[in-house]
């Protein structure tokens, strides 16, 4: 049995026992998707539901997104980044720690369907996977692709693949990936300001302002998002590029020091914008200025809620 099947089995067993013992009223995990390369959120409420739970490298949503405002005890299937989001939500009072059970999945990185589509241009009718590979097929073709070649950007670099804060791990800790060295951002900084502005303006030119990135984000649980504010409604609702840019910049600021690089935003984006580019600029700043990474302890205080008298800020004259 491959690692994927083992994890799936363990998730199902754990979920069943949690539901049977009443330790959880619902187990939030993944089921097989209705289209290829998709694993969908699934809410198991009875022991028999649990056989639909799976683990797969298509499990791209961050299920911590479903935790805020939930009452009752809940168990969450969580990879490293998701578990960190859940920890963040506990520290931000979105769910009581006592109501949360984390079924941790050591993650080896998830597959980016866009990369698969780019590699295999023909319409894909079916996809299957093993630990190391995926096999896609369509009208008159079947191709095997190494997962390592089609990992999501955020999974290629990942400093916390295994959810060490989880209540239980469903397998041995995953081999560490290299942490994000922000090499591309550093390279970008070597360019001229106007080139950089062009780059970021081009990045979001297709944005529909559907806010799927926001809605898929476990950090975006605000009852009223700033883009939806009225009185003053200071952000236009049209597709004006500056309004769109403002949305992305402020969302990034709101996620700063809280983002766990789960990539759910990019997964959700229907027009394939590399939304996280903005977040990463700030991830880098948060790490460099305050040596902070979110979701690693239950006691952590987000960096914008604390200060040090000697915090660096040389640009302030």
């Amino acid at each position: 049995m491959g690692a994927l099947e083992t994890i799936t089995q363990k998730i199902q067993d754990k979920a069943k026992s949690l539901l049977e013992s009443g330790q959880a009223e619902v187990v939030i995990g993944y089921r097989k998707g209705s289209t290829p390369l998709v694993a969908a959120p699934y809410f198991a409420r009875t022991p028999s539901d649990c056989e639909n739970l799976i683990w797969s490298s298509f499990a791209k949503l961050n299920l911590a997104n479903y935790l805020p405002n939930r009452t009752g005890k809940v168990a969450l299937v969580a990879k490293g980044c998701d578990a960190r989001s859940a920890v963040g939500q506990v520290t931000e009072n979105q769910i009581p720690r006592d109501n949360l059970y984390l079924i941790g999945v050591p993650c080896s990185g998830l597959v980016d369907p866009a990369k698969v589509a780019a590699k295999e241009g023909r319409p894909i009718q079916k996809a299957t996977e093993t630990d190391e590979t995926i096999t896609v097929s369509g009208v008159g073709f079947e191709v095997e692709i190494k997962k390592a070649e089609v990992l999501r950007r955020n999974c290629e670099v990942c400093s916390h693949r295994s959810p060490t804060m989880a209540d239980e791990l469903t397998g041995p800790e995953a081999p560490a990936a290299k942490p994000d060295d922000f090499a591309d951002i550093k390279a970008l900084l070597a360019k001229s300001p106007s080139e950089r502005l062009d780059y970021f303006q081009d990045l979001i030119k297709d944005c529909l302002r559907c806010y799927a990135c926001r809605n898929a984000c476990p950090l975006c649980y605000c009852p009223v998002c700033f883009v939806d504010e009225t009185r003053p409604q200071w952000l236009g609702k049209s597709t004006d590029p500056m309004d769109t840019m403002t949305f992305h910049l402020l969302r990034a600021l709101h996620c700063a020091g809280r983002c766990t690089a789960c990539g759910a935003c990019e997964t959700a984006c229907p027009v394939n914008i590399k939304v996280r580019e903005f977040n990463r600029v700030l991830d880098k700043a948060v790490q460099e200025n305050w040596s902070y990474e979110p979701g690693l302890t239950w006691e952590q205080k987000p960096p914008l809620t604390v200060y040090q008298p000697n915090d660096p800020a040389d640009f302030i004259k």
């Binding site: 969908a40 809410f43 949503l61 479903y66 319409p123 009208v139 559907c210 939806d228 049209s238 959700a268």
Partner: protein, 342 residues
């Protein structure tokens, strides 16, 4: 009417002839990135469907409709002025039948015996629409189940289909006939070929027989069914389904102002957002995603059919199925609606 053939080597001339000085929109780019755009490069004939539905051509995401000047030295300051319908003569090639049907459904919303929307009307009526039938439907396609067909004709002036690296053409309206005639094409009788191809394509989609049950069940029975909160539970409320849906047509009117003046515009809105129904008082008749998700599926599968003589509000294009980050599949939902008890 007769059918016509465009040979591979005559394609370029054909597109030139149908454009005839008008704006020509046609599929540009391959695979996921295929879009209906002003044709500047080669026209794609082999694509699943365009990434976005063609509705933005007639109903742009942001459309400025009125404006006024604040400065007293400007003519008619402090008075709203119409900014026009932004229509221009257009030929669209490559609309999939599901999308053409979607436009036809929206057309009844924007133009009917009670009301005419000038901005839609101008653009819709100044465009000639050539559809491109589907030979190999994608896994998410289910137009047939929604009463359509990969070779559906609703809302089109001409139906085309790929034929030996060229095209087969079937004019559907006098305007379509005129358009094709202008291209001086060889005619042919393609009726039986079309029938065969259509049958094959429908079979490839697999059956979905739940719609009839939904049609027969009473509104309140469907509405009060107990599955809605479970159906809605995975929903993120993002509204991607509505942005990509060829029949979603809701909008919000907004004013924007500056020192110089103001503009009134309408923007796409989405019923998946709580803001869609929130009242000035703060009251929201659809307070949670359960009500909102129910609204969307009831609208597509029950309310529109009632208003539009049985034509379903979903055309089976499958975009929402693929785009939904939570994989809420309207086929599954339809099946649930058909079965669920109240």
């Amino acid at each position: 009417m007769t059918e016509y053939i465009v040979k591979e080597d005559a394609l370029t001339a054909f597109f030139q002839a149908i454009a005839n000085g008008r704006r020509l929109l046609a599929p540009q780019g391959q695979g996921e990135n295929c879009r209906l755009e002003v044709a500047t490069g080669p026209v794609s004939l082999d694509y699943g469907n365009t990434h976005l539905s063609p509705k933005a051509t007639f109903f742009p995401q942001t459309e400025k409709i009125l404006a006024y000047h604040k400065k007293a030295d400007q003519p008619k300051y402090n008075q709203y002025q119409d900014l026009g319908d932004h229509a221009e003569p257009t030929v669209i090639f490559g609309i999939r039948p599901c999308d053409a049907k979607g436009l036809a459904i929206s057309n009844k919303v924007f133009q009917n015996d009670r009301f005419t929307d000038p901005y839609w009307k101008g653009k819709y009526e100044s465009a000639l629409k050539i559809g491109l039938a589907c030979l190999n439907p994608s896994p998410q396609c289910f137009c047939a189940a929604m009463g359509g067909s990969p070779f559906g004709e609703m809302g089109l002036d001409v139906l085309a289909y790929p034929k030996e690296k060229g095209l087969g053409l079937k004019p559907l309206t006098p305007a379509g006939e005129e358009l094709v005639k202008a291209a001086s094409l060889p005619s042919a009788d393609l009726a039986s070929e079309i029938k065969d191809l259509e049958k094959k394509a429908i079979e490839a989609q697999g059956p979905l027989d739940t719609y009839q049950i939904i049609n027969e069940r009473k509104i309140m029975e469907l509405y009060k069914a107990d599955h809605w909160s479970a159906t809605a539970e995975p929903c993120l409320g993002c509204g991607v389904c509505t942005f990509f849906c060829p029949t979603c047509h809701c909008f919000d009117i907004q004013d924007e102002t500056s020192e110089a003046g103001g503009v009134r515009m309408r923007n796409w809105d989405t019923c998946m957002s709580p803001l869609f129904t929130v009242h000035g008082s703060g009251h929201n008749p659809r307070p949670s995603k359960t009500e909102r998700v129910r609204q969307r599926f009831m609208h597509k599968l029950k309310y529109i059919p009632i208003k539009q003589d049985g034509v379903r509000g979903c055309t089976g294009c499958g975009r929402c199925v693929v785009m939904c980050p939570a994989n809420i599949d309207i086929r599954t939902v339809a099946a649930t609606m058909a079965q669920a008890s109240a």
